[in-house]
Amino acid sequence: MADRFAVNRLPGFTTIAILAFLALYIPIVTLVFFSFNAGKTVMDFNGFSLQWYAVAWGNTTVQEAAWRSVVIAFWATLIATTAATMAALGTTRRRPFKGQTAVYVAINQPLMVPEIVTAVALLIVFAWVKVQTGYQGLGYLILAHAAFCVPFAYLPIRARLEGMDLSLETAAADLYATPWATFRRVTLPLMAPGIVAGAMLAFITSLDDVVITEFVKSAGQDTLPTYMLGQLRRGVTPEVNAISTVLLGLTVVILTAFFLLTRERR
């Protein structure tokens, strides 16, 4: 054909996408930029300095808060993604079992109610448990985070599953593969982009949570967002920028390593 055009090009899409990427990064660049601020606040750039990194280095509270955020997010993501993957498998591509709509609503319920409500309610429920059992560890926060992360993991996985073609799995079955083997070697790899997307969303959501954590936390359990929330009233200091930049840098390093490692296998 003389006028072969790229099938997958849609007008304007690339431009919008590139602009979107740029717009996404402007605040991030700003935030990193301000972590090097010689001035005293998150506004008002006054020159280049590493003072806030020094402050953050010495501020064990902020470091612990940041670390705690990551730990909670990790465990919550693990639990939520596993539960969500299983739930997605259980609710798609099969004939709807009785009560499936109710299950669907239940899974997405955390999305539907403002966080403050879940937060206060969890405060009440967990406080009772805390008084009864005396246990005051991170378990409550992890459970609370896992719960609201489930819908964020579930929806992308389900979207992925719904779009998947059953023929590959039927082919595997025809070739005498056991259901478990089919699952492991055909279904799961095909679902992988959805699971990865779901896990990433869950992780991000957990890292970001402010309201529920604020109410459920016990003594000494500030996370990075609640630490910042506490500062909102009296002025936010740029050491939060410094810590975030460090976290960001670490994440980039880890994900790059992960990315490079998985590329080899292809």
């Binding site: 605040p27 700003t30 899974i107 999305l111 539907m112 206060v120």
Partner: protein, 303 residues
């Protein structure tokens, strides 16, 4: 239907229940149970200093629509509640549409890169979101305030004389929310588009479809599960959003999330906060069911 297939279907039902059990346990403990507690609270009386007294009362529900004027004790319509609800719903709809308009091309772009590059682009899209929400919101503030990035750039190049007031406007809240919820739209869309078979598009063009026609009648229907997922993930949380409207909106014009939070704070009316949340839940569930049903009506089911 062969015997084997019949048995498989029954097993499938049982498996279905088994598979959703872990999710149900986690959610049951930390999402459903608290909700039931809140339901009970909505039927109690507010305590003098927050919290509730164990006295039954319908006031929590009645005050959604009706309020007593504090001085002459006359019962009137709580039109302010309706205004707040309406403002929030409108804002969430616009945020979702904005997120879609920006997110769909972005997801399409990523999904149509050569396979080896795709992870990199996905990676690039999500990196900004590995910093936490409050910090990002403050960074946005930094960009839009009177002496911030945008105004300084515009003034330096002489395009404007006075700084544009962007902070504390509805536009700021909109931009902030779209920014915050963008990955929630992009990732599900990507997951769905990634599975899209380009040969369908080729077929459409071979049949003389225009690009827009192909988009409307081939692409969108097939990736609609992703659109549904993305829209839900953006619309619903944005309805109850609280931090972004507070930091970027200035607290003068409340969204439903801020208003409910007020009831648990200085408003000292936990039952009203609880009942408003129940109402929000009902509205959202109904909207969700309609939306999902409408979206599924147009799709081809696979397998």
């Amino acid at each position: 239907m062969s015997r084997a297939e019949e048995a498989a279907l029954l097993q499938s039902d049982r498996n279905g229940w088994l598979l959703v059990t872990p999710a149900l346990i986690v959610l049951g403990l930390a999402a459903i149970l608290p909700l039931l507690v809140m339901l009970v609270y909505s039927l109690l009386t507010p305590g003098d200093f927050g919290n509730v007294e164990l006295i039954f009362s319908w006031d929590g529900w009645v005050s959604i629509l009706f309020q007593r004027d504090i001085f002459d004790d006359t019962l009137g319509l709580a039109d302010a509640h309706l205004t707040i609800f309406w403002r929030s719903i409108w804002l969430s709809v616009v945020t979702t549409v904005l997120a879609f308009v920006i997110g769909f091309p972005t997801a399409w772009f990523i999904a149509t890169r050569p396979p080896r590059e795709r992870s990199l682009w996905l990676f690039l899209v999500t990196i900004p979101f590995w910093t936490n929400l409050l910090i990002r919101t403050f960074a946005i503030l930094e960009v839009i305030r009177s002496e911030g990035l945008i105004n300084t750039a515009l003034m330096k190049t002489g395009m404007i004389q006075e700084p544009i007031q962007m902070l504390y406007t509805d536009g700021a809240v909109l931009a902030g929310m779209a920014y915050v919820y963008l990955p929630l739209m992009v990732l599900p869309l990507y997951a769905a588009i990634d599975r899209f078979d380009m040969r369908m598009l080729e077929a459409a063009y071979d049949l003389y479809a225009s690009r827009w026609g192909a988009l409307r009648r081939v692409i969108l229907p097939i990736v609609s599960p992703g659109i549904v997922a993305g829209s839900i993930l953006v619309f619903v949380p944005s309805l109850g959003a609280y931090v972004t409207p507070r930091v970027l909106g200035g607290g003068k014009n409340m969204m439903i999330g801020n208003f409910i939070e007020l009831q648990f704070g200085q408003g000292r009316n936990w039952p009203l906060g609880a009942s408003l949340s129940m109402l929000l839940l009902v509205i959202v569930t109904v909207a969700l069911l309609f939306y999902v049903r409408a979206a599924n009506r147009g799709t081809q089911t696979h397998g």
